[in-house]
């Protein structure tokens, strides 16, 4: 069972619609004690890093998610949900991330911000999450900050917007995507399907 984490940071409708379309077994999690039976987690999120971090704390999800990620259990962070995998962010300097990947989040400069629209993802070979997806396919992005990991070890997808930034990361079974697969047409649905089918 996939759980979409609802911690009050944005609309879960789109991701639920996409998983429904794929006939995936999922539920929306509002409280921490509903965790039983869940073996995969989707962490969506819009808004600011600081507010999301605070809401994860308040809803009791923060420590649970940290444990989940440390245990290398199946996880997909989308947009801000990916940025939260880092240690911190320039957006909210005093707020903590989930500390899965060493590094921070930086704001774009010298380009229009937010980065809104369809952009290419160049992905590493032999990544099962990109099965049946063309190299440099377009995905839909909406964000002002991007992740900046200390090492490139976990980066499996890159995108160019004024500079090259990591758009997909993977550490074991923990994935993060900066774009919105649920809003990236058939290509996005294929990526979600691939993730759902990973064992």
């Amino acid at each position: 069972m996939i759980a979409i984490i609802d911690y009050g940071a944005g609309n879960l409708r789109s991701i639920a619609n996409a998983l429904q379309k794929l006939d995936a077994d999922f539920k929306i999690l509002h409280e921490r004690d509903e965790f039983k039976g869940v073996d995969r987690i989707v962490l969506p999120g819009v808004g600011s890093f600081g507010k999301a971090s605070q809401k994860l704390e308040e809803s009791g999800f923060f420590l649970l998610l940290q444990e989940w990620i440390r245990a290398d259990k199946s996880f997909l962070g989308i947009c801000l949900g990916m940025q939260l995998l880092m240690f911190n962010s320039a957006e909210s300097k005093d707020s903590l991330g989930l500390e899965c990947v060493k590094g921070t989040n930086r704001r774009f400069c010298n380009v229009k911000v937010p980065h809104i629209g369809w952009n290419n993802v160049q992905y590493a070979p032999d990544e099962p999450v990109f099965k049946n997806i063309d190299q440099n396919s377009y995905f839909y992005f909406v964000h002002s900050y991007f992740i900046e990991p200390d090492s490139q070890d976990y980066v499996i997808g890159k995108t160019f917007y004024g500079l090259e930034f990591p758009s997909v990361i993977r550490r074991g079974d923990v994935y993060g995507v900066q774009f919105h697969p649920e809003k990236s047409g058939e290509t996005g649905l294929q990526l979600l399907k691939n993730w759902v089918e990973l064992c």
């Binding site: 819009v46 229009k112 937010p114 377009y138 992005f141 649905l189």
Partner: protein, 250 residues
């Protein structure tokens, strides 16, 4: 590299797509859900759904349509028309909209932009600016272009960004419905004045017009209604033309 976006606009009144919807393939279809699916398959980059009736008695009809579209169309969906306050925004987002668009409500109460940005995030706020030329500048109009606010359109667009708008939907009232091209001067001025994306609207009659809005007007996206609804040009035709001209599209 980021591509330029082509955004079909569905003008809906009381559950039916209104404007020039004489598709050859879809002659009997005035149904917004079917049209949305049609454009999705045609490779539209986003969709904008405007409730042009926007009367409260039909509000539930509109939200039901939005809900049905969002279950079938997996590209961003913006909903506008009749949005007056935070509750209206929340209802549209909960029904499945990814973004909301409003014009008059923002001009009457600019704080609404800041409040909405704080609650829902700038990424879902597409502030619509309806501009009409007055001598050497442009004024903002409200209530569907009927009332002049005497506010300079470029100054207002900048203010919207400062308040927390994520994108500007720029409508030229002079060019709207004329099919003779966008107001390129206005588009370029606004696009160069704000650090957020600008969607050009009003005047699209041919792929050349879209090209001019993107290249000369420096818009980040273009809205198209009748040029697509009349089926004179398909989205793929337009994108092929733009690609040949060196514009990056999906």
């Amino acid at each position: 590299m980021l591509s330029k976006r082509i955004i079909p606009c569905l003008d809906v009144d009381d559950g039916v797509v209104m404007k020039g919807c004489n598709f050859t393939q879809l002659k009997k279809v005035g149904d917004p859900v079917e049209l949305a699916e049609f454009y999705y398959r045609e490779n539209a980059d986003e969709l904008i759904f405007l409730d042009i009736g926007a009367s409260w008695k039909n509000r539930q009809t509109t939200l039901n349509i939005v809900e049905n579209i969002s279950k079938k169309v997996f590209i961003p969906l913006t909903v506008g028309g009749g949005i007056r306050n935070i509750d209206d925004i929340r209802r549209a987002l909960l029904a499945g909209a990814d973004k909301v668009s409003f014009c008059s409500a923002a001009l009457k109460n600019p704080q609404l932009i800041a409040d909405a940005a704080n609650i829902f995030g700038s990424q879902c706020l597409v502030i619509s600016v309806d501009a009409k030329r007055k001598g050497n500048s442009w004024n903002c109009f409200i209530n569907g272009g009927r009332i002049d606010t005497n506010l300079d359109a470029i100054e207002w667009a900048k203010r919207c960004e400062q308040l927390g708008a994520g994108e500007i939907l720029l409508n030229s009232i002079d060019a709207d419905g004329m099919k003779s091209g966008f107001d390129l001067e206005l588009t370029r001025l606004v696009s160069n004045s704000v650090p957020i994306p600008v969607i050009a609207s009003g005047g699209a009659g041919s792929p050349e017009h879209l090209y001019a809005a993107l290249e000369i007007g420096q818009a980040d996206a273009v809205l198209a209604a009748s040029i697509l609804h009349s089926a004179t040009y398909s989205i793929s035709h337009i994108k092929q033309y733009l690609t040949e001209k060196g514009v990056k599209v999906r």
